[in-house]
Each structure stands twice: as C-alpha cells, then as structure tokens.
C-alpha cells in the first residue's frame, strides 16, 4: 500500500460539502422514532388489579404500592392497592411492562420529560379517580 500520500481525505471533504447537514432540526421538526422506542411509562387504571408484580421487579424503585382501603369479595375483606410511579428515577427498561399480566402498562413514545417541577413526574393516575 502506498504510504504518506496526500489527499485521501479530500474527495470525502467535497462529498460532505455538497450534502445536507447530518444533524436533525429537532425542536422545529418532529423527530422520527422507531416502533419499539422506550419512552415515558403510562398506565391504564381500568386494567390494573394491584397485583404488585411491577413493584417487585422494578430495578429503579419507581413503583410503590399505596393502600386504598379494603373491598369485600364474598366473605373475605381484601386490601385494595394501586401503584404510584415516581418517573424521575425510571430507567426505561420496560421490565414492569413485560411482567404485567393484565397489559395495564405501556412505554409510550414520549421522551420529553424535562420539567422544572419534580412533582410533575409523579404519576398517580391509578390512585386518583
């Protein structure tokens, strides 16, 4: 191979001069996300049964179960529990979504989670009616 030849990078330089910028004009144009993108967590309160599997598997301690009183099933009194999500510590792994037997959880495509108020990231959909 010929060594110390000048100008191996020059054709590439001209190619990039004629091309459009590689960066995306993100805040002005919507960004294209892949089908499987893992974004902000969302819950369907109607489907949740409070089985706590999501709280057990979560590696980032996002999910805590909140007691909402009791309900009667036949003769027995059962505790009603619903999850409270602190999304500020979520690592978007999707383990809770995989383990939810009732398909109540899903990872949406929303990734703009920056907020000046930390309480905005507290998801209490399943608790408040």
């Amino acid at each position: 191979m010929p060594r110390r030849r000048a100008g191996a990078a020059i054709p590439e330089m001209f190619r990039f001069m004629l091309e459009k910028p590689s960066t995306e004009a993100y805040p002005f144009k919507p960004i294209q996300l892949p089908e499987r993108f893992r974004g902000k967590l969302d819950i369907d309160p109607a489907k949740c049964t409070g089985c706590q599997v999501c709280a057990l598997v979560c590696p980032a301690s996002v999910i805590t179960m909140v007691d909402l009183g009791t309900r009667k099933v036949g003769d027995r009194e059962l505790k009603v529990r619903r999850p409270l999500f602190d999304l500020s510590t979520c690592i978007f792994c999707g383990e809770c979504v995989d383990n939810c037997a009732f398909n109540a959880l899903e990872l949406t495509k929303q990734f703009e989670t920056a907020t000046p108020n930390k309480a905005d990231l507290l998801m209490n959909k399943a608790i408040v009616k």
Partner: protein, 433 residues
C-alpha cells in the same frame, strides 16, 4: 574573552541538571484528556516520561455490594449500567453466569440475537474509539465523519431494542425482544455500508500525514511485556497473540458464526487503529451472516425468580477485552456475591508501560489507545503489601474510616465508636506535592 551567552546558559543548565533531573507532574483526576476521573503521577525527565504511578478508585460506585441486596433480575439492569458503551455485554456475561446455575437452556434463536446485538455494540464502540483517536491526534474531521457513521449502527440498535445505548435486551435464558420483521435487508445493506466506510478510514489513517505522525512508533511495547502484564482484548492482539474469548471459549452463537480473529505484529498505536478497523469489518460480516442464518424457534424460557444454590463464573469478549463475572447463590432471591472484572483493570499495567518513554504531549493519545473506561473498573479490596494480608471491611467500618479520614477531631471525641479492623487503622497520609 568572555564565553558566549548561549554557551554560558547551557553550562548553567547542565549544572542544574545534576541535582534535579526528574520532576513530578500530577495528571488528573480532572483533566481534559480524561473523560473519567483518574489520577496519574508522572515522573518526567525533561519532556520524556520515566515512570507513571496511577491512583485508581475515583468512581467507585459500590455495584458489587449493591447487587447483594437486589433480586437477580434487577441486578441485570444494574450491571448493564456498569458501562455506557459496552452495556449489553455486561448483562450478557452476568446472565450467562446465572444461567449456568439453573437447569434451563438458552434457545438457539436467542443465542443468535445476542450475537447480533453484541457485534453491533462492538462496531459502535470501535467507531467511537476511532473518532476519539482522530480527535486526540488533532484530526477532528475524522472524528466528525466517524461519529456520523456511528449513527447508522445506533439507529439499527434502536430499531431492534428500543434504545440506543442501554439495550435491555437480555433476560435469563433468552432475550426479551425478537428481531423485527422485514429488517434483514436493511441490516445487511447497512453492514455493507459500514464495511466500505471502515475500509476507507483504513486508507485515510494509512496515508494521512496527520494520523501517521501522531500514531506511528508511539506506544511501542514488546510481546513479552504484554504477556507478563496479562493484557486482554485488542491490547493483546496488536502484538500478535491470538487471544479472544469468542475463539477460545465460544459463548452465545460464536461457535456457529464464522469468526475472524485479527492480529497484528506491528505493536504501536497505529497498529491498534488498523486492528480495530479490521475487527469492525469482521464484526459487520458476522452480523450479516447471523441475520441471514437466523434460526426459527422460541426466544426465551421463563425461569423462576429463585436461583438454585451454587457458584459459577462467566467471561465474554467485550469491545475492550475480556470481562469476567463471578456469581454465588445460596438458593435465595438475591445473590450472595457478584464479582465483576472489567478489561480496563487488566489493561492498565500495559498502558503504564506504553506511557514510559513517550513525551508529555502523547499522553492523551496513548491513554485513549487502550480504550480506557475508568468508571467501569473501580472495585475495592484491602491488601497490605508488607505482610501479604487481605481483609474486608463492613459498612460500619467503612463509615468509621471515612469519619477518621475527613474529620480526625470528631473521631477522637467519639471514642465509643468501634474502630476499623485491620491495618492501617488511622488515616492514610494525604498525598502531597
């Protein structure tokens, strides 16, 4: 006639040199040349480096201790976050060690998907590294080009797993997501594109004066030294050793996918550049082969959350070299002990050897050449070199040591607190210049 001023100055400096030939220069822990904090004490003779004394442990995060209090599945995501570049291979290595303790087998399709992701990760890690080498060689154009091409493979990873960096693809005895449909052609086309680009970059680094001047004959080390200091990965292959876990102890689907282990005998930083670009081409070919010959079948076997008692180790070939995980279980929901060893820990002695004899200006490029990840490697153990004694500290003793170190007055007042066991009990002397 008086002596000319130049000669006089030379004589003066010659006299001075008699009693101060060496100077000590601190390098780091916060330095523009280091992306992660690490401290090197440099002994210089003029501009040449005579000796380097490292001090590690600035980013110790206590991962191994934290693993002991978390369930098995949660640890996978924690160990994936050991490194921000080679994240998948950490979870792969950990899950392989755990899988050995169970009686379940990994499906063949899952093994292939693991291979595809691991090789894509190697491509993206090597491209990142080539860009950084261009940056430190003063060839920022190469940095921009290479990182632009890196987006191609990151987009593929994102389409398969859902995230660019932390793939979260591994599960015990399988993978969590199947390969998307109708992606075969796209992956093969992109791999061909990356192969062409890698060949072009190979030509650029072989002919461009900027790269050659900064990399040729820099960081030379003999094969004997590498053998003695137990370097791993590309650092062993660039002096001619054919050491690769994928070849020597195949895991995932590496026993079925044709593997091309690249070695050079040139033994300098330029050889590392060529080696990693050639490895990139080999990885792209492996991805294309694995995608074409992806077997059918299930991708995962669900296993119970309790892992049977026993202990096992596992090792994998990360982009930087061999990583090692040891797992011990007593049959509970959490591991008894997890030990992880990262390639930078094994390559650091060789890096210090590479630095000796180089000029001060070559430090960034030589340190980058080993592809360091100081954040990954920090672990903690106590070892007394004089008495050859090893010991461990409990959490309370560590806390006491911290109080002793930072607030000696407070520690004296509270004499009731249990003192730390093992030598040395009181503070280490602070290092001073």
């Amino acid at each position: 006639m008086s002596t000319p001023p130049n000669q006089q100055r030379r004589e003066e400096s010659a006299g001075l040199m008699e009693y101060s030939t060496e100077s000590l220069v601190p390098f780091g822990p916060i330095h523009p040349a280091l992306k992660e904090p690490e401290y090197f004490k440099l002994v210089l003779e003029g501009e040449r480096i005579v000796n380097v004394i490292p001090r590690i442990g600035y980013v110790h995060r206590g991962l191994e201790k934290a693993a002991e209090s978390r369930p098995w599945v949660q640890n996978m995501y924690m160990f994936e976050r050991t490194c921000g570049i080679c994240s998948f291979v950490h979870s792969l290595c950990y899950s392989q060690a755990v899988e050995e303790l169970t009686m379940y087998q990994v499906p063949r399709r899952a093994k292939y998907i693991r291979t595809i992701i691991a090789e894509m990760e190697r491509i993206h890690s090597h491209l990142l590294w080539v860009g950084l080498m261009g940056h430190w060689a003063g060839f920022d154009t190469l940095f921009m080009w290479v990182w632009n091409d890196r987006e191609v493979v990151l987009d593929l990873v994102e389409a398969i797993s859902g995230n660019r960096v932390h793939k979260s693809m591994n599960a015990f005895c399988g993978v969590r997501k199947d390969m998307p449909e109708n992606m075969e052609d796209r992956i093969i086309e992109r791999m061909k594109f990356l192969t062409d680009r890698a060949r072009y970059y190979r030509e650029v680094i072989d002919t461009e004066e900027t790269m050659l001047k900064r990399t040729e004959n820099i960081g030379r080390v003999s094969a004997d030294t590498v053998e003695k200091l137990c370097a791993v990965g590309p650092m062993a292959r660039y002096v001619g050793f054919k050491r690769d876990v994928r070849l020597n102890d195949p895991y995932a689907a590496y026993d079925e996918v044709p593997l091309d282990v690249i070695t050079t005998t040139q033994g300098d930083v330029h050889a590392l550049l060529r080696l990693r670009l050639d490895e990139l081409v080999a990885s792209a070919n492996m991805v294309a082969y694995a995608v074409k010959n992806l077997p059918d079948g299930p991708i995962r076997v669900k296993i119970p959350p309790i892992i049977p008692a026993g202990e096992h180790s596992s090792h994998c070939e990360a982009p930087r070299g061999e990583i090692f995980y040891f797992v011990k279980s007593s049959g509970g929901r959490t591991p008894d002990r997890v030990k992880s060893r990262q390639p930078t820990m094994a390559n650091l002695p060789t890096a210090l050897e590479l630095l000796k004899g180089q000029t001060l200006a070559d430090i960034p490029i030589v340190l980058t050449a080993i592809d360091p990840c100081f954040g990954c490697m920090d672990r903690m153990s106590f070892y007394d070199t004089e008495t050859n004694k090893r010991w461990t500290w409990s959490g309370e003793e560590l806390r006491q040591y911290g109080i002793n170190y930072y607030f000696p007055e407070r520690a004296k007042k509270k004499s009731g607190i249990k003192k730390a066991i093992g030598p040395p009990t009181n503070q280490y002397p602070r290092e001073e210049f």
